[in-house]
């Protein structure tokens, strides 16, 4: 009996000593990594985007410029040159020579470019069955919905050496109950969402994350 008590005491002391935590979990506000350093640039140029598709009568390039120019100026604190630069084809985006040729002066330029697509589709939804003229034969109630999708493949390019600082695809969609939904309003809704994601990506805003600190 005494031997058992001593063994138990020994085991208890062992567990007390060795059972301590080896780590401590902490929640920290860590700065987000951004590939873009706005203080390294003096001006921003917005090129025409390569447009894959857009609803008839809607100038997607003009609307993209009108939306993003003031946002870029506000968030990056850099002047945006309103002179639109035509982009011939997709291959130009990946060619450093193309961008270097556009940047002859001493001012360091950041180019915003890419591909864009805005689509509008009508979708029909079956809402249920309702009595028709013949009460024994129910009819399906169908509603029309308008779905807009905005796809933006965005590139941020350093002008002096053609380095691609950011290469990212964004896609947002929204469904409207009205089949007469205006394209410009829908574009604004979708562009707002892309803007939020884009600037979260390129800013250094701190975010709370968990890390483990080791105690030994």
């Amino acid at each position: 009996m005494k031997r058992n008590s001593l063994s138990l005491l020994l085991l208890l002391l062992l567990l007390m000593g060795c059972g301590r935590d080896l780590y401590r979990k902490v929640r920290l506000e860590l700065p987000a990594y951004s590939p873009l350093h706005p203080d390294e640039f003096q001006e921003v140029f917005l090129t025409d985007f390569l447009i894959a598709k857009t609803p008839e009568g809607f100038d997607l390039n003009r609307e993209l410029a009108a939306f993003f120019v003031p946002e870029i100026e506000r968030r990056l604190g850099l002047p945006v040159n309103a002179q639109r630069i035509p982009l011939e084809n997709e291959a130009s985006i990946g060619k450093p020579d193309f961008w270097q040729a556009l940047s002859p002066g001493p001012l360091r330029r950041l180019y915003v470019t890419g591909k864009a697509e805005l689509t509008r589709k009508i979708r029909k939804s079956i809402l249920g069955e309702v009595p028709g003229e013949d009460p024994f034969t129910p009819q399906r109630k169908v509603a029309e919905r308008t779905v807009f999708s905005l796809s933006l493949h965005l590139f941020l390019i350093q002008g002096d050496n053609g380095t691609v600082l950011l290469d990212r695809n964004f896609k947002e969609s929204k469904t409207y109950t009205s089949p007469e939904q205006r394209t410009d309003f829908a574009f604004y809704d979708l562009a707002q969402r892309i803007k939020t994601k884009l600037f979260r990506l390129i800013s250094n805003e701190e975010r709370i994350q968990e890390r483990y600190l080791l105690l030994k």
Binding site: R3, C18, Y33, T175, Y176
Partner: protein, 125 residues
């Protein structure tokens, strides 16, 4: 005293010795001091303490890992990556270092990615 009593005393002393030996670091040592500083947002002090540990114990996994966390806090991404990699080289299966390292890599992930959100929400009118 009988043999049994002596054995009991010896066992108790051994247990106490093991308890202290297995116990975690007291706050008075440099790793603990660094954590104390980090908890108070004194990251420069924490970095100083953990670097000091590495001058004496270059194979300290805790010091490498904790230094990496401090470097992340100060946005020193490459330094953080190097310290995590050093810690993993010393202890490749350490789950906490691996978790920290994966989170760092997620923050530094390549630019090419798709952010897609098919909301499909109806606009309420």
């Amino acid at each position: 005293m009988s043999k049994t009593t002596w054995r009991g005393i010896a066992a108790a002393l051994l247990g106490i010795a093991l308890a202290f030996g297995c116990s975690g670091p007291r706050l008075s040592d440099q790793v603990g001091f660094g954590i104390w500083a980090a908890n108070r947002d004194l990251w420069d002090e924490a970095i100083f303490r953990w670097r000091k540990v590495l001058t004496q114990e270059p194979r300290s996994v805790a010091a490498h890992n904790n230094l990496a966390v401090a470097y992340e806090k100060k946005a020193l991404w490459e330094e953080a990556r190097k310290e995590y990699e050093a810690a993993l080289k010393l202890d490749p299966d350490n789950p906490w270092v691996k978790s920290n390292y994966e989170n760092l890599l997620n923050n530094l992930e390549p630019d090419k990615k798709t952010d897609e959100d098919e909301s499909g929400k109806d606009e309420k009118k």
